[in-house]
């Protein structure tokens, strides 16, 4: 089993301000608090929809989305709470959706796996593995035809290049030099199965290069490295230099779905999990900011209590919101009215 044995993240400050770095930390903390709260609510039986938690991968969503403009497009997958929050989606509306409420961002039609906020460029997420790859290439094609300069980022797991449509989408993006970034979150597992049991070679970036992508492998637990790489990718895409593949090596702490860790099932071992928990993207970044004198312990404590309050409020909002009215079951089949 390859866990890459990566060293602890080493941060370097390039073209980024102190307020920006604090914003990155705060948003990663918001994602973490959101996911860990959901884990408890699932354990308590308060949430029914299957939740694929993002804990441990926050730096990928944050680093990439911070490099995008508000009107750039993001497409996601079944594990997209983090992408939604990082791109600016409303936390209350997401929590309400996860509670199946009418006030949810998808009005209770989507659940945890289908979050959406078009005004933030979040055009939707697909729970069919690889489902949004070609669609994302299509939004990039649209903007390429218009010449608008808008960029598309699509987040996908390390299992997705095992699907045929990933290659079709990649070939089309490469052929047409489309403004798209494939963000591969290599968390080493596709549901229960580790990368080395699924692939002949550990060569995701090479395979993307073969389709005409500029490819880069980065530490997905280092938010600044992800941001710098994403910023470079966005600049390339926007200036018509073709598609980019970013393989972000990271780890999901929780199991494939739900609040457990999949250690109990024998799918992963505790040492591996502990090693990656020690590489926590938030802990290391906070420590770095404190060591640099950018953040004080007191400020950090305030941030911790702020996100806790914010997520508590989102939960209260979700719980007190009404369920969708069954009379409206057939709304939204067609845009011009009911079925």
């Amino acid at each position: 089993m390859s866990t890459y044995n990566l060293p602890d993240p080493v941060f370097s400050i390039k073209n980024i301000g102190t307020d920006e770095m604090i914003h990155l930390l705060a948003t990663m903390m918001r994602i973490r608090q959101f996911e860990e709260t959901i884990a408890d609510l699932v354990t308590d039986g308060k949430i029914i929809t299957p939740c694929h938690l993002y804990t441990g991968q926050e730096a990928v969503a944050m680093g990439v989305c911070y490099a995008l403009n508000k009107d750039d497009y993001v497409f996601g997958n079944h594990r997209s709470h983090g992408h939604y929050i990082a791109k600016g989606g409303d936390v209350k509306a997401a929590m309400a959706e996860i509670f199946g409420k009418a006030t949810g961002c998808s009005k209770g039609r989507g659940g945890s796996m289908h979050l959406c906020s078009p005004k933030h460029g979040i055009m939707g997420t697909s729970s069919i593995v690889s489902g949004s790859m070609a669609i994302a290439v299509g939004s990039a094609l649209a903007e390429s035809i218009r010449g608008s300069g808008r960029v598309t980022a699509v987040f996908h797991g390390d299992g997705v290049p095992e699907e045929g449509i990933w290659h079709e989408a990649a070939n089309l993006a490469g052929l047409k030099r489309l403004p798209i970034i494939f963000v591969c979150e290599n968390n080493l597992y596709c549901t229960h199965m580790s990368l080395d049991k699924r692939r002949v070679y550990d060569n995701l970036a090479e395979v993307a290069s073969a389709h005409g992508f500029s490819s880069k492998v980065i530490d997905g637990n280092n938010v600044l490295d992800v941001f710098y790489a994403a910023q470079d990718a966005v600049n390339k895409a926007r200036s018509g230099k073709g598609p980019i593949f970013l393989e972000c090596r990271t780890y999901r702490w929780r199991g494939h779905v739900g609040p457990n860790y999949d250690v109990d099932l024998g799918l992963r071992n505790q040492d591996e999990l502990d090693a990656w928990i020690n590489r926590c993207p938030i802990k290391h970044f906070a420590k770095f900011l404190i060591e640099k004198g950018i953040l004080s312990e007191e400020q950090l404590n305030t941030m911790i209590s702020n996100v806790a309050n914010e997520i508590d409020e989102a939960v209260s909002y979700a719980i007190t919101s009404p369920y969708p009215d069954p009379v409206e079951l057939a709304n939204y089949v067609f845009k011009d009215g009911n079925i």
Binding site: G110, P118, A134, I165, N171, V333, F334
Partner: protein
């Protein structure tokens, strides 16, 4: 108005849509290829450039997905499949994504894409180059399905499909490409969800889809010689279906034959029969007759092929069955 073939009508609709709306683009495999789409997209690349009339690699799922994504981003793509058989490779994109996206996200992101599936059969092409699985697509919530049966419908339905805010599957049929009639020169819509009475009659209603509309009209001529007056209805849109038009006709004729060039099990013909039974069961003079393909894959050899595809003679026999009961 001028006389135009079905293929020319489709070509003209493309040209006028591309001319009038910069959001429209055409994407698919073989835009200029005689094997792929006949003459229906011929000349469009020269007029509108390969940026808006895009020939593609042979990637049905990827290309269909790209059209879907472009529609989400506000374009009005027409993605075509030279053979509907190959379109099965894009089923996940069409069903899980295209048809369900608007609902799944609570009405926030609509998908105004036209998916054009071409039926191309005959001449011993065998089962993987012959299918027309209408009912499979009409089954899917969120997808509109239209089947033009004449040059007039072919042009007007394509315009309506592209202007619709929802995904529309437009199924055209190469057996009709040479069929000619008067077609307006200007751009116009045939409304989606409205059927048409092609011929009025009193003794029996024949509902026919796509190429079988022409066969039904020939059958009606033949039946007229036998003193049987047949009303012929073309639903034009399978979903949403103009069932009211059919019910009103059958209320008058009290007999129904449905001619549907697709397999029989869970077919569109059965669907219409059920809807009519629900409304008019005790009013009918005889059971509804469904004319479909045999429940077999589609053969290659010419005698088997001739036995397989229904034509006007099968419709005449079907009508005689219900009239004589």
């Amino acid at each position: 108005m001028s006389i135009k073939s079905y293929a020319k009508a489709i070509n003209e609709a493309h040209e006028q849509l591309l001319r009038d709306d910069e959001r429209v683009f055409v994407i698919g495999q073989g835009v200029e290829s005689p094997w792929c789409v006949g003459t229906t997209t011929l000349g469009l690349v020269n007029k509108f450039s390969s940026d808006r009339v895009i020939d593609t690699p042979i990637s049905e799922a990827g290309v269909t997905g790209a059209a879907i994504g472009a529609a989400m981003a506000g374009m009005r793509p027409i993605v075509f499949h030279p053979r509907m058989d190959f379109m099965y490779l894009a089923m996940d994109q069409i069903i899980n994504h295209c048809a369900h996206w608007y609902y799944m996200f609570g009405g926030q992101v609509n998908v105004p894409v036209t998916i054009r599936g071409i039926v191309n059969r005959g001449n011993e092409q065998a089962t993987q180059h012959s299918q027309s699985p209408y009912a499979m697509y009409a089954h899917i919530p969120g997808l509109k399905v239209v089947c033009p049966a004449s040059p007039y419908e072919a042009k007007g339905l394509l315009v309506a499909a592209v202007r619709d805010d929802n995904p529309v599957l437009y199924i055209d049929d190469r057996w009709l490409y040479m069929l000619e009639e008067e077609v307006p020169d200007e751009i116009y819509e045939v409304p989606i969800g409205k059927g048409k009475i092609c011929r009025e009659g009193d003794d029996v209603t024949i509902v026919a889809i796509s190429y079988l509309v022409q066969e039904a009209l020939q059958a009606a001529d033949n039946l007229g010689d036998k003193g049987i007056s047949a009303e012929v209805i073309d639903p034009r849109t399978l979903k949403p279906l103009d069932i009211g038009l059919i019910i009103d006709s059958v209320r008058k004729t009290r007999r129904l034959v449905v001619a549907d060039g697709d397999w029989p099990c869970c077919s569109f013909a059965e669907h219409i029969a059920t809807l009519v039974y629900n409304e008019l069961f005790s009013h009918l003079k005889s059971p509804v007759k469904c004319i479909n393909f045999p429940d077999t894959p589609i053969p290659a050899s010419t005698p088997l092929e001739k036995a397989f595809f229904p034509n006007y003679k099968d419709i005449v026999r079907g009508v005689l069955d219900v009239v004589n009961q």
